[in-house]
Structures are given as C-alpha cells and as structure tokens.
Symmetry: C2
Subunit: 348 residues, 2 copies
DNA sequence: CTGAAAGCGCTTACAG
DNA sequence: CTGAAAGCGCTTACAG
C-alpha cells in the first residue's frame, strides 16, 4: 500500500509550516490566514489527497468523534432485527451531519456490559447508544454516574439514564380505542412479550386504560401472553378462542405475534375481520401484505434513531437531556374491519 | 467525566515501568515477564479499570483494527434493508473474533466514493466492505490498485476487486428446474430489477439455462421486468396474464416483487398454486407468511457477511484472495404446488 | 527479566 | 499573519 501523505508533505508542497496547514484545514476561527496562503494549502492538500490521520487527531484532541451503538441480541433477536435498518439509518444520519462516526457493536447474550466499559475506558467512542439494555448489570449505571454520555433505546426501569422509546401506553390505547369505536366490546389482548419486558407491561396498560374508559373491566381470561414470535401468537390465540361467548376482536401487541394469531384463526376456520377483528403493533413491512392487511400501530424506527442520536450528541456536548417518548400512529388497514373490502381486492 | 487511567497509573500502582505494563497487557511473545510481575500488573490494571487509549495505540501501531462497512442507499434501499441485519451480524461476528471493530457508514445516493477515499486516507479503517458498489466511480479502482484492502458485497463488472455474492445463476436455475420437475413447461419470469443490475441479468440467465436444458425456448413475452418493489411485480404479472395460452407458473426473481405479483393474481381471481404456481427469490422473513407460503430461493445473508469479513481480513493481512459465490438453497413451501395443502392449514 | 528514550502525526498555546 | 516546540498515550527497538 502506498504511503499516505502527512501534514508535513502538504506543508512542504504549499511552502508553509505544519501549523498553518492545520489552521487552514480546521478552519481555525482565531487565526486569520491570508487568502493566498489558504488557497495554496487547500490546493496542496487536494493534490496529495491528504486527510489528517484520525488517530493522531483523536489523541491530541481527546475526542473520537465517534458514537458506539451497542446492539443487544437476545431471545427477541428476530423481532428487533426488523427495526435495525431504520434505527441505524436515523442514527447514522444525525451523527454524520455533525461529523460523527458510528461504531456498531452487536452484543451476544453471554457478553456483559463489561464490553461498554472497555469501549468507554479505551476511548473508542465519545458516547454510547445502548439498544435493548438489560437490567441486571451495574456497569451502565456506574458509567452514567461517572458522567459518561449514555442514551438508551428502550427503557431500563429504576435508573435515570436518559432513554428514547415509543409511547407504548398511548399506542396500545389508540389501537384499542379504535376497536371500541368500531363497536367492539369483547376485546381480548395478546401481549408482545412476557410481562418482564417493560414494553409488554406498558402495552397491556394501554389496553386496560382504553377498556376501563369504556366502562369495561376485562376478565383475566381475555388476556394472553405472547413471546415475540409467531408460534407464541398461535398458542395465545388458541387460548383466547376458548372464551365464551366469543371475543369479537383481539389486540395483538406485536405484528409478528399477530401473524401467528392470524394463523390460529385460519386453522379454526374463522374469518378476519368478519368473525374476529385484529389490530397489531409495530407496523413491520410485512403488515401491509398479510391477508387481510393488518391494521397496526406504527413505530417510527428512523425517528427513534434520530432522537437517540440527538440525545447522545447533546450529552457529549455536556448538556443534560430528558428522555423522550415518541408518539405512534394507528395505520388502519383491513384486519380491523373498518374498511370494507372484498377479500380479493384487499390482499395487500 | 472522571479522568481515565493511563498506563502510567498502572505502572506506578504495580511498581514497574510503562514498558512492562505494555508488554504484559499485550502478551508480548518475546519478553519473558516473571509470573509475579505479570500478576501485579494485571491486578493493577483490573483495579483501575485500565484499557489502553485506542487512538494512542492506533497511532503507534499504524493500524486501526477497524473495518468500515460502506452501505449504499439507492432506489433499492427498502429491498436491501431486508438483508442488512443478517449481513451486519455475520460481518461483525467475524471481525470481533479477530479483535476488529466495525465502522458503519451509510452512503446516500448523492454522495460519491470520495467518502471511501477520505476514510482510507485518514486511516479510519484498515479495510473496507462496500455493499452495493456503483460502477461509475474510479475512486474504488484507484484505491484497490494502490493495494488498499477492499471487498465488495455484490459484483462490479469490469474490475478485479474481490467480491462476495450469491450464485444468482445457479439459484435461479434451481428455482426454474423445480417448476419444470413439477411438470410445468409454460413458465414465465419477472426479474428482480432492470437488467442494468448484474443480479437481474444473472437470474434471468439462470432461468434461460434451465428452460433451454428442458428444450424450451421462452418467447420474449414470457419475460417481464420487475423493479425491486411490489408495485413493479403487480404490473409485470398483469402483463404476463395477457399471454395466451396462459402460463402455468412464474418465477419471480425477488420475494418483494413476488408479493406484488401475487396480488395481481388475487385481483385477477386466480388461485396460487392451482391456477398459477409461483416461486420467489431471497427468502425474506415474510416469505414464510404469505398466503400461500412462498417457495423461494434462500439467500444466506449471515453467511455473506461472514464471507465478506473473512476476505477483507485476509486482504488486510496482505494475502491475496479470490471472489466467492455462495450457494443458494431452494426452500419449498406451498406456492409452487409441490406440497399438497388445504388453503386453510398452510397459511404459514 | 526490566527500564529510558524515541517516535507515531497531529493540534495548540506561545512567540515573533 | 506564520513558525518552533511541546505533548497527547501508547509501543518498540535498544540497552543493561
């Protein structure tokens, strides 16, 4: 590989000192450089294809201009993967706009938050976005308390580390209110995950709030628990089908789980939405192409990425920030029965 | 933020020189350190939470232990996003295993490969994986010729830059041979993209090879062109439905396009697979949950990521490598008609 | 087996 | 307006 030019090469070619090269290239505000000198330096740099050595800059400036995204893999890996491209896109665009780089670090189940400590202490990044934080590790809290810029994507109960999340309670509530408005009263729920997950508790809470506001106290047999995947949705729906008289609608707090629930209905010979109406949560790309298309709560993955990026950048600049709960929007398709459709014309 | 410990702090606490600290922590092979000294250094480092300053190491060692993933966004952004999590996961795991970090850099349509030059010349990374390379830029070839480790994900015609891709020709051929084996002879094709895309040309080629081997010369009206998304698939299928006598099967060289094609069939009141059999390409997660489930050619995203990681690491180590075409596997579900299914029992 | 010294390529006070 | 010098925190020959 060719040797790469240094600021010395640029200085020599332009006939100035390395100081001047640095001043020009960094647009140093104080130092006033003559237009002619500036031009010569810029031209020399361009000609040599010079870009300052990142490590040298980082060392002397004491900052890396890098944010690390810690991406937890876990039992919900498939589920979360669906959000990765959007989140990454949103985060990267905000960072790039401010001249920051993005270090991507997936974390396997067996790895501990020790990884974050290592990245932080070794100054690989100026700040961290932790996606899918786990509650059982003190490292994060310790780093946060020591002032290290940390922002969570997803909530971690019992800490004051700033987080970004979707407003799960309001989103679920919207979904259920929509069903209520359509005249349903016997509305069941399948959660997206076990209640050990914050999001599952919150979505269930939204369901309860909507029902109570309508004067309905849902009995426990109307509530079943999903576990991220389709199989869990199928099982849960089979359980709900035992309820007598039959439920007329079910809110499934995850699109993937909803796909399994829909399968169970098909197996049981029930039509959607004529026999049972369905509303999902997440608005995964596939939701628009299920049969019938799934009415669901849209989760704005890119906006989450941007928000998380904005917060971590503010933290890096030393500002204090407060957590953000992004609003969701209900996407009405055919599975809720709000739209008239012949099964043929509304496949997608 | 607290000040972070340096090797000097560790040296002082352990009662040795910084040289020794470095030797111990880097497991320097030559220098034999007494077990007692080693233990003291390790203990001191642990106690202080010391990790060497990344920038300082990079500067002195002349390498970053980082690979950059350049992710092109383009007209096919949605399409490619579906592969991002798998690719990223495979790539990151290979890199991590060898102690490398991953820098993620999305590239918008308006940005040029100049970005790669900047990252390379500024020594932000030791090597690059370029996903979705574009043919119209000389920067990549120039960097490659200067010996910079570059590996492409997806092919770039007319260069000898090593690439990793799926074997599109063989995959398409498999798909079509499967339909032929089921007794179909009037088999149409909808490409995944315009023929300006290498993968589209190759998949069409696989189709042609299979047909010719069966003694069938498909007329041009059997061939329609998709353009990544569902809408293009719908249009293309509508065109294919004009063919008389009717085709009995269609190979759609992209699952997303296939979803649109399937929609067109629904609109036309045709059943899958009874009236027209369908085979897709890619095996996106949603393929298992279309109605009926889509028989398709599986593209191993994670394996692509691992392969691309292995190649770039070898290039960084100075080895020369040759491009790799990974095999695909046909996933037989219900849309091809090979599996008996009642429409109810085989929704998923 | 261990330490003193040089040097990686920058930026940044500090002089002039 | 521009240059000489120090220093960021490491690793690595080189001595001892």
């Amino acid at each position: 590989m060719d040797k790469v030019p240094t600021s010395y090469d640029v200085a020599r070619l332009a006939g100035v000192s390395r100081t001047t090269v640095s001043l020009v290239l960094n647009n140093a505000p104080a130092a006033h450089i003559s237009p002619e000198t500036r031009r010569r330096v810029l031209e020399a740099a361009r000609q040599l294809g010079y870009f300052p050595h990142a490590a040298a800059r980082r060392l002397v400036q004491g900052r890396t201009m890098t944010v690390a995204l810690i991406w937890h893999r876990g039992p919900d890996a498939n589920y979360r993967d669906a959000f990765l491209p959007g989140l990454l896109q949103g985060l990267a665009s905000v960072l790039h706009q401010q001249g920051y780089y993005l270090l991507f670090r997936p974390m396997e189940v067996h790895e501990s938050e020790q990884v974050v400590l290592e990245l932080a202490q070794g100054r690989h990044a100026d700040g961290f976005v932790i996606s899918g934080p786990r509650a059982d590790d003190p490292v994060l809290l310790d780093l946060h308390e020591r002032g290290f810029p940390l922002v969570l994507h997803g909530q971690l109960p019992g800490t004051d580390i700033p987080f970004v999340d979707v407003d799960n309670v309001a989103g679920a509530r919207q979904a259920v209110e929509h069903l209520l408005r359509l005249g349903h009263t016997r509305i069941g729920i399948i959660t997206n995950a076990p209640l050990s997950y914050v999001s599952a508790r919150q979505r269930l809470e939204g369901y309860r709030l909507a029902m109570r506001a309508a004067g309905i106290e849902p009995p426990s047999e109307w509530i079943q628990y999903g576990n991220f995947d389709e199989a869990s949705g199928r099982r849960a729906m089979q359980a709900l089908l035992q309820v007598r008289p039959r439920l007329s609608a079910v809110f499934v707090a995850s699109d993937m789980v909803a796909v399994g629930a829909r399968y169970a209905l098909w197996e049981a010979g029930l039509r959607v939405p004529e026999d049972i109406a369905l509303v999902g949560f997440d608005d995964l790309p596939l939701a628009a192409y299920t049969v019938p298309p799934l009415t669901t709560v849209h989760v704005p993955a890119q906006a989450l990425g941007r928000a998380v990026g904005e917060l971590v950048l503010q933290r890096i600049q030393g500002e204090s920030v407060s957590s953000r709960r992004l609003p969701t929007t209900l996407v009405v398709r055919a599975s809720c029965g709000a739209r008239k459709f012949s099964s043929r014309a509304n496949l997608t």
